[in-house]
Structures are given as structure tokens and as C-alpha cells.
């Protein structure tokens, strides 16, 4: 039975987050590493190359990796300090079982016993309630090999349709929009195409903080003469010095794109040849945007007409361009429509599939791209295949050695899994690489659902906040403790190399999954000895699919410093730029550059709808959420790295002085923000860099500091992405400091900064 142990501070005292700083050999100025391993950063979708210095099976520091072309040695602060996640005092080195009598609420248990208990519980639940009573939550920070294995494990070993992953909170709107428009879901261009663009359009992306290395591409484009247009409710660092800043009201992006398309048509800033030859649906879209006059667009978006016209003119007249967007337009109940609107202005310009003419979504997680291609998504099979397509099912069933009829049908999205728990349909849950209690919206509900489970097993290297509710915790592996491939922001497949061995009983995640399968007597298909063997099966499974990895091997990645998919065979170099005239793809088969049978892209009508929860008298202020540079996602890793925590110790409520004045709040005051779902008290940061009708709270923190207590679980009907980027709140000056600020709270037991040596 799951029940949250009462003593939160007790858990924190035993399992962290504690802060790790450089000390001992990591601070010594005379340490000689045993080896230096070329690999990549474990955090965001850019997957910067990095070299890890290893001594005595501990990563003791880093060295810039200048030979890797994407970042040429550049890193953000997370990449610099990532090494501190290893040899961490909070690291799980044994399996744990829930034991309220024990200090910290858990006690250690032998690994084999934990596996046996997990297998027994899964078997009991499935025998009692049916196979579908088990759910699996996976993640897009896993290597592609692991992601593939998770999809297979759910469908073949657990025989449940209910697997989904945390890319549901991240990439699905972009993915769905891209598939609807292009027939394929991948950034269309390598980032080098940004450099020669005349106009760079950035919508809903805090590039400087969420994809820091991309900053250099943007500034470099400007050095070459580009105009930079940024659309955001906040003046982010990339927006500060951009050429045109459009301070959009949260949730109104589609209106802006429709307004831009309207002006492009009005001024005939169109590529008629391209539209006629390679797109379908322009006329309907043109008809639809007729109503989006600059005036109406201005009224809905809250941007001046003058600025909208300027943006349209620059975009319309450009010879080359690059449009990129991120969660800012995707985390909406109409996220897919926002994406389609963005793609529409790209397709109408005809500026895609050529050098310096590009489009791309900025991937969030490390393997945000690769993790959404090979079947851990509820409706998907490897190679970006469709689980409801009989041919696709047959192909994969053949590779998995099962009867196609045995293969479960499509499952449901991650949030729906929790609603199924609520309805009593799912009784058991296995999670890996996912911290839903922090990262899902309306997360007080999520926490209650975790408690409602009959059995919950979590795999992680630290005890994340969701795992507090687990019956069994299995010690997984850190990024640097395993090898495998990931696909980064550009669609480039790269190789993660192992630097150290997992400590204690900790195991590489794919071994844990296979151990569970074996303990259930379902080891057929789960007897891989190394990630390379999983990749070999994945390559065959993806063959002929949209995301074709057949020609990708570790050796080729090494040789070419990455391989862009699709890559059809051993001789194929890969496909850095999609949609080039005359390019071949398995769907169009030569008919045209896009991934539809006719080879043409789809221009979709993208109707505007306001956010699911608009402001009203009761809740008059918009809340938007996002990241800060020094933290990553739910913070399981980065809230344990001292120098990163020091950089931005706790969340604050960002608000404009005009709003603050109205509310009687001054910079540094405690302020309470409240939505229909939750309430949070944080310090106010009063800044003129945000719209006066909007507040911003970063989402990386747990418990009382979690922004997702407030956010709404409204989802996009197509992508099922939650609407993190806008909901209605009210804000007031708090009477006093919140409880967490008075307690040791999450900074309990933090280690002291050591002294300089030498």
C-alpha cells in the first residue's frame, strides 16, 4: 500500500536533496585523471559534447570537448557542474522498500529480493485485475536503446497498452504538428542553417536559458546580417537585444501566426511556386486567416499593430529564414494548432528544405527526439510507426516474435494514466526517468493517485519526490554509467559513452527491466547482454519506418561525429536536412520532399481558441511557467548540485512593478499566488521584464515550492500536452514567510563549501 510517510524532513534528511560541492580529489589541483571520456551532457536536448575526467571510478571534473561540431566545447552551467551528480551522498546504492518504521521511511533490501517482490506484485495485480491494470511511465532522458526496451517491455512482457512517457509534457505538440504538416517529426534542419538565415524567428523559447548553446547560432546569424524576432511574454536574455520583440499575451500564439499569414497574403510575400507544387491546403488556410487583420491580431495577442506589421514585413520579404519554437507555444490546450500556425508561415514562405532555410522545434530533454521515436509513446511503435496501423503492428510483432493479435492496442497519455488510477482501472505502476509529482500539472492530484496505487515501483538513481510514494525503489544508473545513443535537437544521433561503473547494487536500467522480466518468467526477448545488441534489434525494427535507424551504428556515429536520421543503410551518410528537393523518403517514395504519399506538405487551418482557463474577476492574472538556466526539469539531479542551487536557490514569483504596486507587493516580499487548484507562497521578484498582466514561476521545485500545484491539467485534444504555459491565478501579499522557509526544509543537511587547496 502506498502512503506518504509523514516525516517529509525525515526523508529529506536521509535521501536528500543534499548539495554536493567539489571537494577532495575534485578540488585538488594536482589530480591526474585515469582517463578522459568523450561523451555528451546528460541534460537538455542539445546534448553538448563534453569530456569527463575519471579517477578511481569517480567523475572528478570535465574538459571542454572542442572536436564535437555542435557546441565546439561550449557548455552551460549545468554541463559544467554535471559531474557533481556522481559519487553523490544521496545516490541510491541499494534497493529500497517502503518501511515507515525505518529512518527516512525506507529500508534497504537485497536487489534480487526487490526484483522478486516487484515481479510477484505485478503478477498478482495482473492476475487479479487483468494485464491492463499495470501502467508504465518512462522518460525521454533515457538512451534510445532503453526507450525502445521500455516500449517492448510494456507490450511484450507486461502485455499492457498503458505505457507513456514524460515527453508527453514536452515534445508531443511539436511532434503532432510536424506529423500533420510534414508527415515526419524531426527538426527539419541542422542548426548550421541558422547561421545564414536573414530572419530568425523565435517563438515561445527562452533560448538563452533552455537551449543556451543555440544562443551562439542566433548571435552568429545576426553577425552575418540576420534580423532576430522574439515572441515571448517576458524579455528573456535572448529577447533583450533582439531586433524586434513581440511581448505576446500567453496562449495567443496562433492568433499571431494567423495574423502574420494574413499580412503575407495581403502583401503577396508568398512563394507561389512552392505553395502550388509542394503544399496542399493553402486556400482553406488563406480563407481562414482573412479575419485575422492586424487590428484583430493586435487585440487578441496584446501586441501593437505596428510591431506585428514590422514582423510580417521582415518575415515576408526575407530570402532565407529559420523559425524555431519551443514549449512556450506548445504547452497549451491548443499547442498543436500553435505549431501548425508556425509551420504555415514557414510553408507559405517556401523557405524550407534549402540551405539557410529552416524550421525546428527546440527539443527539451536529452533524448527528447530519440525518446519519442521508438515506441515508449502510448500510440507508437519503433521507427515512428503507428500502433493502430495493421502493417506496422505486423512488422514489429514479427521482430518481437509475438503474434500480432497479442500486441496491445494504443494506450493513453501519461496524465490519463493518473485518471485511470483515479477510476480504479490501473492498480500498479512502474516508473523510470519520470518524476510526475513535480512535473505534472495539478500535482496535488498526482500525489493522491500515487498513494492510491496498490503497488508502485520506481527506478531512479536518486529518491525523487514521486518515489517517496513507492513500495519498492530500484537503484538505476546515471547517464555516465551506461552507453547508448540519443538523438539531439537537430535529429543528429550521437553516442553516450560510459565513464564509470554503477556503484553498489545500482544497475544499468536496461538490466533492471530485463531482471524484472526474467523474474516474471517472461524473459523471452529480454536477454540482451549489452546496449549494442538492443540497438541492433532497434535498427531492424525501425527499418522502413519514418525514423529509419537501420544504417546507424556506434562506429558510424564515432566516425562522422553523429548521424542524422533517416539513415537507410550502412553506406548512407544520413540526412542532415529534411525536405530537400529530390530527396527520397519511405512515404513519398520520390513523389516529393515531404513525408506523405504525394510528397506534399499540409497547410492546415489553425483556428484560434483562448486558453482553457482565461482570466476573470476572481482570478485576474495569467500564470506562465518555465525554466531557469541552472536547474533542469523536476530538479532530481540539479537540485542536488550545490553550485547550481546557489545560482538560483529557490523559485520566485516574477511580476511587473505595475502589478506589484497594485497588489502592494515589493521586491523580495513574500507573495501568495493561488489558482483554482493550489496555492504557493514565494518571494516576489519585481521586474519590468514581464508583461504586467502575467506572472512567471519556474517549475523545477517540489512540494510547497512546486509551481505545478497551480497549473491546470487541461490538455491539447491531439497531443495531450498539458497547458503549463497559461492559467488564471490571483496574487496577494503574504502575511508572513511560508512554513518551508522557516524549516531546514529542502536545504537540510547541505554540505559546507570546502576551502581552497594549494
Amino acid at each position: 500500500m502506498s502512503a506518504l510517510p509523514n516525516q517529509l524532513n525525515d526523508i529529506i534528511e536521509h535521501y536528500g536533496p543534499h548539495l554536493a560541492f567539489s571537494e577532495g580529489v575534485r578540488l585538488a589541483t594536482d589530480a591526474e585523471p585515469d582517463k578522459v571520456v568523450k561523451t555528451h551532457c546528460c541534460f537538455c536536448g542539445q546534448q553538448c559534447g563534453i569530456q569527463l575526467k575519471v579517477k578511481d571510478n569517480v567523475v572528478i571534473g570535465f574538459e571542454p570537448r572542442v572536436d564535437y561540431p555542435f557546441n565546439k566545447g561550449m557548455l552551460c552551467p549545468k554541463g559544467v557542474k554535471r559531474y557533481l551528480q556522481g559519487a553523490h551522498p544521496d545516490r541510491l546504492i541499494t534497493a529500497l522498500r517502503r518501511d515507515p518504521a525505518s529512518p527516512g521511511g525506507f529500508s534497504s533490501m537485497p536487489y534480487d529480493e526487490a526484483i522478486a517482490r516487484t515481479a510477484a506484485e505485478i503478477e498478482r495485480i495482473q492476475a487479479t485485475y487483468g494485464n491492463d491494470a499495470m501502467g508504465v511511465l518512462s522518460g525521454a532522458s533515457l538512451t534510445t536503446e532503453k526507450a525502445y526496451l521500455m516500449g517492448k517491455f510494456a507490450r511484450v512482457a507486461l502485455k499492457t497498452p498503458f505505457i507513456d512517457y514524460n515527453g508527453r509534457l514536452c515534445m508531443v505538440s511539436a511532434g503532432a504538428g510536424n506529423k500533420k504538416a510534414f508527415g515526419v517529426d524531426r527538426a527539419a534542419n541542422p542548426w548550421s542553417d541558422i547561421l545564414g538565415a536573414e530572419v530568425v524567428w523565435i517563438s515561445g523559447s527562452n533560448v538563452a536559458e533552455c537551449a543556451p548553446i543555440t544562443t551562439n547560432y542566433v548571435w552568429q546569424a545576426r553577425e552575418n546580417g540576420a534580423k532576430i524576432i522574439v515572441v515571448d511574454p517576458r524579455i528573456t536574455p535572448i529577447a533583450r537585444t533582439c531586433d524586434l520583440f513581440l511581448p505576446i499575451k500567453p496562449g495567443r500564439d496562433i492568433a499571431l501566426f494567423n495574423g502574420i499569414l494574413h499580412l503575407m497574403i495581403e502583401n503577396d510575400w508568398l512563394d507561389h511556386d512552392f505553395i502550388n507544387n509542394w503544399t496542399v491546403g493553402f486556400d482553406a488556410a488563406a480563407e481562414h486567416v482573412k479575419e485575422w487583420t492586424p487590428r484583430k491580431t493586435a487585440e487578441v495577442t496584446g501586441i501593437t499593430e505596428r510591431a506585428i506589421r514590422q514582423a510580417a514585413e521582415w518575415w515576408g520579404k526575407a530570402k532565407t529564414s529559420f523559425l524555431m519554437h519551443a514549449r512556450g507555444i506548445e504547452h497549451h490546450s491548443h499547442g498543436v494548432q500553435n505549431v501548425l500556425g508556425a509551420i504555415n508561415i514557414v510553408l507559405a514562405s517556401g523557405r524550407i528544405g534549402r540551405e539557410n532555410c529552416g524550421y525546428g522545434t527546440i527539443t527539451g530533454q536529452g533524448n527528447g527526439q530519440g525518446g519519442r521515436e521508438h515506441g515508449q509513446k502510448c500510440d507508437q511503435l519503433p521507427g515512428m510507426r503507428d500502433i493502430s496501423n495493421p502493417e506496422h503492428r505486423a512488422h514489429i510483432a514479427g521482430i518481437w516474435g509475438i503474434d500480432e493479435k497479442e500486441m496491445p492496442q494504443a494506450g493513453v497519455d501519461a496524465y490519463e494514466i493518473f485518471r485511470k488510477i483515479d477510476r480504479g482501472e490501473i492498480k500498479g505502476l512502474l516508473s523510470i526517468c519520470f518524476n510526475p509529482k513535480v512535473s505534472l500539472p495539478d500535482n496535488n492530484f498526482v500525489a493522491r493517485m500515487l498513494d492510491k496505487l496498490e503497488f508502485y515501483v520506481a527506478i531512479d538513481f536518486f529518491l525523487n519526490e514521486s518515489a517517496y510514494h513507492a513500495d519498492i525503489v530500484l537503484p538505476g544508473s546515471l547517464h555516465e554509467e551506461d552507453e547508448g545513443i540519443v538523438t539531439q535537437i537537430e535529429g543528429r544521433v550521437i553516442k553516450i559513452n560510459k565513464a564509470v561503473d554503477p556503484p553498489g547494487d545500482a544497475k544499468q536500467d536496461w538490466r533492471i527491466i530485463q531482471d524484472i522480466a526474467r523474474a516474471m518468467g517472461r524473459e523471452r526477448g529480454f536477454t540482451f547482454n549489452e546496449p549494442r545488441e538492443i540497438l541492433d534489434e532497434l535498427r531492424v525494427a525501425s527499418k522502413g519506418g519514418i525514423a529509419d535507424y537501420y544504417g546507424i551504428t556506434y562506429e558510424k556515429i564515432e566516425r562522422q561525429n553523429g548521424v542524422f536520421w533517416p539513415c537507410y543503410n550502412e553506406e548512407h551518410h544520413g540526412t542532415p536536412r529534411l525536405f530537400e528537393p529530390g530527396s527520397w523518403n519511405p512515404i513519398a517514395k520520390g513523389a516529393g520532399p515531404f513525408y506523405f504519399p504525394d510528397g506534399k506538405a499540409r497547410i492546415n487551418v489553425a483556428p484560434y481558441t483562448p486558453p482553457a482557463e482565461d482570466v476573470d474577476e476572481e482570478y485576474p492574472i495569467m500564470l506562465t511557467t518555465g525554466r531557469v538556466i541552472s536547474q533542469f526539469l523536476s530538479g532530481t539531479q540539479t537540485r542536488r548540485i550545490g553550485p547550481l542551487v546557489e545560482q538560483y536557490p529557490e523559485p520566485r514569483i516574477e511580476m511587473h512593478p505595475r502589478l506589484a504596486e497594485k497588489l502592494g507587493i515589493e521586491n523580495g516580499d513574500w507573495a501568495t499566488a493561488e489558482s483554482r487548484r493550489g496555492v504557493i507562497t514565494l518571494r516576489a521578484q519585481v521586474v519590468t521584464t514581464i508583461r504586467p498582466d502575467t506572472i512567471f514561476i519556474p517549475y523545477h521545485w517540489a512540494g510547497a515550492k512546486s509551481a505545478n500545484q497551480l497549473t491546470i491539467s487541461a490538455q491539447d485534444p491531439i497531443s495531450k500536452i498539458p497547458e503549463y504555459k497559461v492559467c488564471a491565478v490571483r496574487v496577494r501579499r503574504a502575511a508572513g514567510a511560508p512554513d518551508w522557509a522557516n524549516e531546514q526544509g529542502e536545504l537540510a543537511g547541505q554540505t559546507h563549501r570546502p576551502n581552497l587547496v594549494g
Binding site: M74, N224, L644, R658
Partner: protein, 211 residues
Amino acid sequence: MAVPSHLEFFVDPNRCIGCKACVQACSECDTHKGYPMIHLEYIDRAHSVQTVPVICMHCDQPTCAEVCPADAIKRTGDGVVQSARKPRCIACNNCVIACPFGVPKMETGFKLMMKCDMCYDRSSAGLKPMCAAVCPSGALFYGTREQIEQSRPRSQAVKKFQFGGQTITTKVNMMTPKVASAEYLDVTAAMDEQTIGKEITFNILDAASGY
């Protein structure tokens, strides 16, 4: 070993995004491990996200060294102004408040001035200083003059700075717009400047009404 003469430092604060990768990486350098020497600060966070990274500019005639009563600050033959020599520094703070760029830091516990030394362990071995190696915005760039001229066609590197009546010439370059064809950067002329960048209200439609 000395810093190779064909490698130079180029700073462009206008590109800075305040990410602090430089600060975090600076503390990984073996000449000052655990203690970042680069400064990275908001100029006025209440009104702007503008940030400024400041490394030692390595003056040809360093004010810090001249005002040092202990003769502790030395400029090596390659033009790098080194951190105070540990046996000599008497922690008087002259350098800290006299440096025209505001670079040296006083570690009061150590009774020692420490400053950016271009990661001398790295740069003297031909490697990039840590901050410039990692800087994701190109605000800090270390490389050859050919590289910078090729990659920054809009920019012109200057190494002369005006502070009131004083001209300071440095080893480190500052990027200025080519169209300005400036021979030097007049620092004290920016005395009354507040912050530089977009205003949120500028393009907001209903800025005057409601929130």
C-alpha cells in the same frame, strides 16, 4: 611556457545572456580552483536582464600593479597580468578599488588578492581559458584574429579604453560595431546610462490600461 601570441581574447558583453557558465567553469581552473575569478552581474535586474561578464583585461601598464605597495602584481612577458604573488600580497585592497575595470577580488580570509589570470595553467599550454571555452553566447571568445574577423563581420575589436583623462591599453579586445569605427571605448561616458535593451511596454497594445 607562455601564452601563444597568435591567440587573443575578445569580449562582447552585448552577447552575454547571464548564464554563468563562465563563472562555474572558472572555478574549475587549476590556478584558482574552487574560486571563480570572473565577474558576472546583472546591471539592474529590476529593469533589465542585462548582464556583464568582466575578465581581467590585462593592461599594458596595469594600474593594479602600479598602486600595489607590496610590488606583488607582475605582468609576464606574454602580457598576462598575474594574480598577486602569494608571499608578497599584504591584502591592502589598493588593486581592488583602483583597477579601472573592477577586476581583482580580495579573499579576506586568505589575506590575498586573487584575480583572473586568463587560466594561466591552460592558456600558457595553448588551451582556451575556461570561461571562453564554455561561453555559449560568444560573449567571451578566445582564438585567432583571423577567426574573429571571419566570424564577426559587423564587429571591430578595440583594446583602448578611456576613463576620464586616462587612456588604458589592454591585451584583451572589446568588440564594438564596425560602423562606429571607434578607436577606443569611452567607459566613463556611460556614467549616466541605465540599462540597455528592450522595454516590455514598448510593443504592448494595452500597456496603459489594466495590468
